[in-house]
């Protein structure tokens, strides 16, 4: 019985859960706390069916691009999020060309003045029609 029951959980009603709530709420995006808000902005400025590619500081799969891509997929449901890298870090330029929008987060690029939407940490750029 003692082994089966998680004794630490039994203390939850008697302790201040604030720090735990804060830790859990920020756990997923601890590296880039602003990223979810940025993605919500991208969602507001795009339509279902749009294709979006993501550029982030970590342009290596295991170094953070996988997180950025998966997280974008979750926040941008209804749109098609295209990765710019394979899990083996091979670039996918065809996805860059195919995307209607490029969402740039946390990268010091010079943002063109005609960006669809911009924030302190990033911008949403619309690709020119070819």
């Amino acid at each position: 019985m003692v082994i089966g029951v998680e004794s630490r959980m039994l203390l939850l009603p008697f302790i201040d859960r604030g720090p735990s709530e804060q830790a859990m709420a920020t756990f997923t995006d601890r590296a880039w706390p602003d990223y979810p808000r940025f993605l919500e902005g991208v969602r507001e400025h795009t339509q279902p069916g749009d294709t979006i590619a993501i550029i982030v500081p970590a342009m290596r799969w295991e170094a953070g691009y996988s997180y950025a891509f998966y997280r974008a997929s979750y926040f941008l449901t209804g749109r098609e999020v295209l990765p710019l890298l394979t899990p083996h870090d091979e670039p996918l330029p065809q996805n860059y060309r195919a995307a209607k929008y490029i969402a740039v987060f946390g990268v010091g690029l010079r943002i063109p003045p005609d960006a669809v939407w911009r924030t302190r940490r990033g911008a949403l750029l619309r690709q020119r029609q070819r």
Binding site: G4, M9, P13, M24, A25, S66, Y70, S73
Partner: protein
């Protein structure tokens, strides 16, 4: 939170006539626990059916389809008559501790919105994606960019999340973890009812507390919780069915296992494990008993057919799984040693093994079905590690602790009852027989 609570209540009410149509004798904890599980499983099929029929999910379309099933089940249930089980579940003071344990786990699960990586990259992602178009988005599942979301995984859990979102008027992942808590409660209620048929209220209450703790998945928001609940309930019902050759238990067990197969691929493996264990534990009556498992396969079939029709890739089957398995077989001992090293809650398994060893041989024989299921399922898991296209160490680290939780409830239930009843018999020996609960004789004894 209101939408999730209303969803849990709605699923339970929806499941009541289904549970009664299958087992008119169901009462109390058995009825409530199985009703939630049937409601959850049936709602999955409602949404799956609407999606296949190209009817957009709306609160109205889902309600109409559910009402049709609700009325049909109520009609069937009303036509049946049966006496309730003689061994009514008697409450015990220990039940208060179980309620407290569940309350603590619910606090943990809802500390924040669901934080698990696999929730927002697999289960929640699919639910949210499907909600956008009001049906299963086959284009999303077929896209080669979305293989990370494991498109082949069954959809019971995402579609349950979609039901909550339909009730709430939109996607909100803040309180979805409560569905997992409800699954654990449902399993505990089923276990309580089944244990009450075999042991004293004290031991039944103590065992329920253990089941409630083991049935709660620490992997919040993933399909682990529902799989543990459906799979655990399925095994416990089949165990009871073998014990008493009870048709209602066979129906419950088969359907629960069918729903488990719609939670995760491990649920499909569990169905196969149970089938092999049923054959192995009763050769002579195997054909008749296997026929009683047919509903499980009927429930598992639609998703297996759909995923084959849409050629959704399974990562384990990439390339040649057999050649990988054969290549790693000579190193199996190293992989087994690594699995032992990485075992989550090793003392729990030491206690279980010790319990099996010290239990009387007759009691062990009675529980051979549960032991066989556990052993076969563990073999499947080891085979999956041998055949994985991923790095074995990474695969073990990222999944082994989750996989072992799938089997904890049934094996703990069997070992606990073996020991409790042995202890009780040795203490009760000089006393009157009528002090014990009525335990029907095993059907094949």
């Amino acid at each position: 939170m209101t939408a999730t609570l209303v969803a849990i209540l709605s699923l339970t009410v929806f499941g009541v006539p289904v549970a009664l149509a299958l087992d008119r004798r169901a009462r109390g904890p058995l009825l409530v626990g199985s009703a939630f599980l049937y409601g959850s499983g049936t709602m999955y099929f409602v949404l799956l059916g609407l999606s296949i029929a190209h009817i957009r999910w709306t609160l109205i379309s889902v309600t109409i389809a559910s009402l049709v099933i609700f009325c049909a089940a109520a009609f069937i249930a009303r036509r049946q008559s049966a006496e309730p089980w003689r061994e009514a579940v008697k409450p015990h003071l220990l039940d208060l501790l179980t309620i407290f344990t569940i309350f603590c786990y619910a606090l943990y699960a809802t500390l924040a919105k669901v934080w698990e990586w696999d929730f927002w990259a697999i289960w929640g992602l699919k639910a949210r994606t499907f909600l956008e178009i009001g049906g299963i988005d086959w284009r999303f599942l077929e896209s080669r960019w979305n293989t990370f979301a494991h498109p082949d995984y069954p959809l019971l859990v995402p579609l349950n999340y979609d039901f909550v979102a339909l009730l709430g008027g939109g996607w909100n992942d803040r309180w979805l973890a409560l569905l997992g808590v409800a699954s654990a409660v449902a399993l505990a209620l089923v276990a309580r009812a089944l244990a009450a048929r075999e042991t004293t209220p004290f031991f039944a209450a103590l065992l329920t507390m253990l089941v409630a703790a083991l049935g709660f998945s620490r992997y919040v928001g993933l399909a682990e919780g529902p799989l543990i609940a459906f799979g655990g309930a399925g095994i416990l019902f089949i165990r009871a069915a073998l014990e008493w050759d009870d048709d209602a238990c066979w129906r419950h067990g088969a359907l629960m296992l069918g729903f488990a197969a719609n939670c995760k691929n491990e649920g499909v493996a569990l169905l196969v494990s149970v089938t092999i264990a049923v054959i192995a534990s009763s050769w002579s009556s195997a054909p008749a008993r296997l026929r009683k498992l047919t509903p499980a396969y009927v429930l598992a079939a639609p998703w297996l057919i759909l995923r084959a029709a849409h050629t959704l890739p399974t990562d384990l089957a990439q390339g040649s799984a057999v050649s990988r398995l054969l290549a790693r077989l000579p190193h199996a001992h190293q992989i087994l040693a690594y699995l032992a090293e990485q075992l989550s809650s090793p003392w729990f398994w030491v206690v279980i093994l010790t319990g099996i060893l010290i239990a009387p041989a007759a009691a062990r024989r009675r529980e051979r079905f549960v032991f066989l299921v556990t052993a076969i399922q563990l073999l499947f898991y080891v085979a999956a590690y041998l055949a994985t296209p991923n790095n074995v160490h990474w695969h073990v680290l990222s999944s082994w602790s989750r996989l072992t939780t799938h089997l904890a409830v049934p094996i703990a239930f069997a070992v606990f009852l073996m020991l409790a009843n042995s202890l009780r018999r040795s203490q009760d020996a000089p006393h009157a027989e009528d002090a014990r609960p009525v335990v029907p004789a095993r059907s094949d004894e």
